[in-house]
Amino acid sequence: MVELRTAIVTGLIVGAGERSAGEFFAAFVEGSIDRDLGTLPTGEALDLLFDDDAQE
């Protein structure tokens, strides 16, 4: 068994690591994982949409 020094998997929301790989990837392709833009705070959502445009 190869032991790696750092965590192999990061950034998963709680419980997502226990989903099956097939379920996760199906949701990933469908874009139905986690939250959509409408669930973000307004400022963060607008930043996401327009921050590069503001710099142009």
Binding site: M1, V2, L4, R5, T6, A7, I8, V9, T10, G11, L12, A16, G17, E18, R19, S20, A21, G22, F24, F25, A26, F28, V29, G31, I33, D34, R35, D36, L37, L48, L49, D51, D52
Partner: protein, 356 residues
């Protein structure tokens, strides 16, 4: 009495599959299937033997092709319950018959409960056995001498002095210094300098399909599950450990960006990048292609992986962005426009999809 049943539209696998078209498939296509496929003539001589079967039976197909399946390779099948049914099907001449039954394969390293499906290839005297593993057990004790399948080293006893090396599951392996990769890259730079990215992406995709079969067989042996049914975290750890075991580097997966329909893979100490020396271009297209094929297998839909940072270019690690194929073009545009920081790439993907 044998179980000749009406033809099925698919064998018992999650893959939509017409068993009567199997003879038209190339050896490479058979190697992409995650279940065992064995082609026999009417006497039981092995004509074709796919990668999954070789992996699960721990035999090298170069040693089994040309041998009799029932007497030399799987002697536990030499009886009325298996060989007898096969022979009756072979004699029957029924082109549309499908023979299905369950069986227990005895190996010296363990026993495997399998579902067998046998069809005749249209118009020829070739028969295809589809072998679906269901459960794995310890080797059964007190079997008669010569009943269990021989080990690879018994089929080919002199391999060590013939310069053949095998891993713990009897796959033939090569151990080469990294200069092997350096010389490959240098050769490509000499003869086809523009060809490296395309060639390596395609090569990696081919390699990744066999890595996916490895993951399937490992998941079957460890959990009696398809890799798609294994928890995501476990599947990623299996992939990462497999790469580290072979010396490709340490693969880490960051799912922080899944809300934006992307995630990120980092390969620390990439063997490909370090063998390339300093370069202005990214060098790990081989790894990108491999990861793309593995994730495509897991998703059962096409997934694109592109490298956005490479140690060969002076970046701290090699970084890959993973997206559904519908966003591949947007990802490539972002990379071409010079964006190389993960959050910027992901943000540009999100804007692209919102505007699209």
């Amino acid at each position: 009495m044998i179980d000749l049943v009406p033809p099925a539209s698919s064998v018992a696998t999650p893959i939509p599959f017409d068993p009567f078209t199997i003879d038209e498939r190339s050896d490479a296509a058979l190697d992409e299937l995650p279940f065992g496929v064995i082609c026999l003539d009417a006497e039981g001589t092995i004509l074709r033997y796919n990668l999954a079967e070789a992996r699960l039976a721990r035999l090298d197909r170069n040693q089994v092709i040309g041998k009799n399946f029932f007497t030399r390779v799987a002697p536990c099948t030499a009886g009325p319950a298996f060989e007898g049914r096969f022979s009756e099907l072979a004699r029957s001449g029924d082109a549309q018959a499908v023979l299905r039954f369950d069986y227990l394969f005895d190996f010296k390293f363990g026993a495997q409960e399998v579902g067998i499906e046998i069809v005749r290839a249209p118009g020829v005297e070739r028969f295809y056995l589809f072998v679906n593993r269901r459960k794995f057990f310890e080797a059964r004790p007190n079997l008669p001498e010569g009943f269990a399948a021989p080990l690879q080293r018994e089929l080919a006893p002199n391999e060590a002095i013939e310069g053949v090396r095998r891993d713990e599951i009897e796959r033939r392996v090569l151990e080469v210094p990294w200069s092997f990769l350096s010389s490959l890259r240098a050769t490509c730079d000499e003869v086809a300098p523009e060809g490296w990215p395309l060639f390596c992406l395609a090569w990696g995709t081919q390699w990744g399909r066999s890595v996916a079969v490895d993951l399937e067989t490992e998941a079957l042996e460890a959990f009696a599950l398809s890799i798609r049914e294994v928890p995501l975290r476990t599947a990623m750890e299996m992939l990462s450990r497999g790469m580290a075991r072979q010396g490709w580097g340490a693969l880490r997966i960051d799912f922080s960006y899944t809300a934006q329909s992307a995630f990120v893979a980092h390969l620390d100490r990439s063997a490909v990048a370090e063998s390339a020396g300093r370069s202005k271009a990214m060098r790990c297209q081989l790894v990108a292609g491999m990861l793309g094929a593995v994730f495509t297998h897991l998703a059962a839909r096409r997934i694109a992986v592109r490298e956005i940072g490479c140690k060969a270019r002076g970046d701290a690690t090699c970084t890959f962005v993973v997206v559904p194929d519908s966003r591949r073009t947007a990802l490539e545009h972002a990379i071409e426009s010079g964006v190389s920081e993960v959050s910027s790439v992901v943000r540009s993907l999100k804007r692209d999809s919102l505007r699209g």
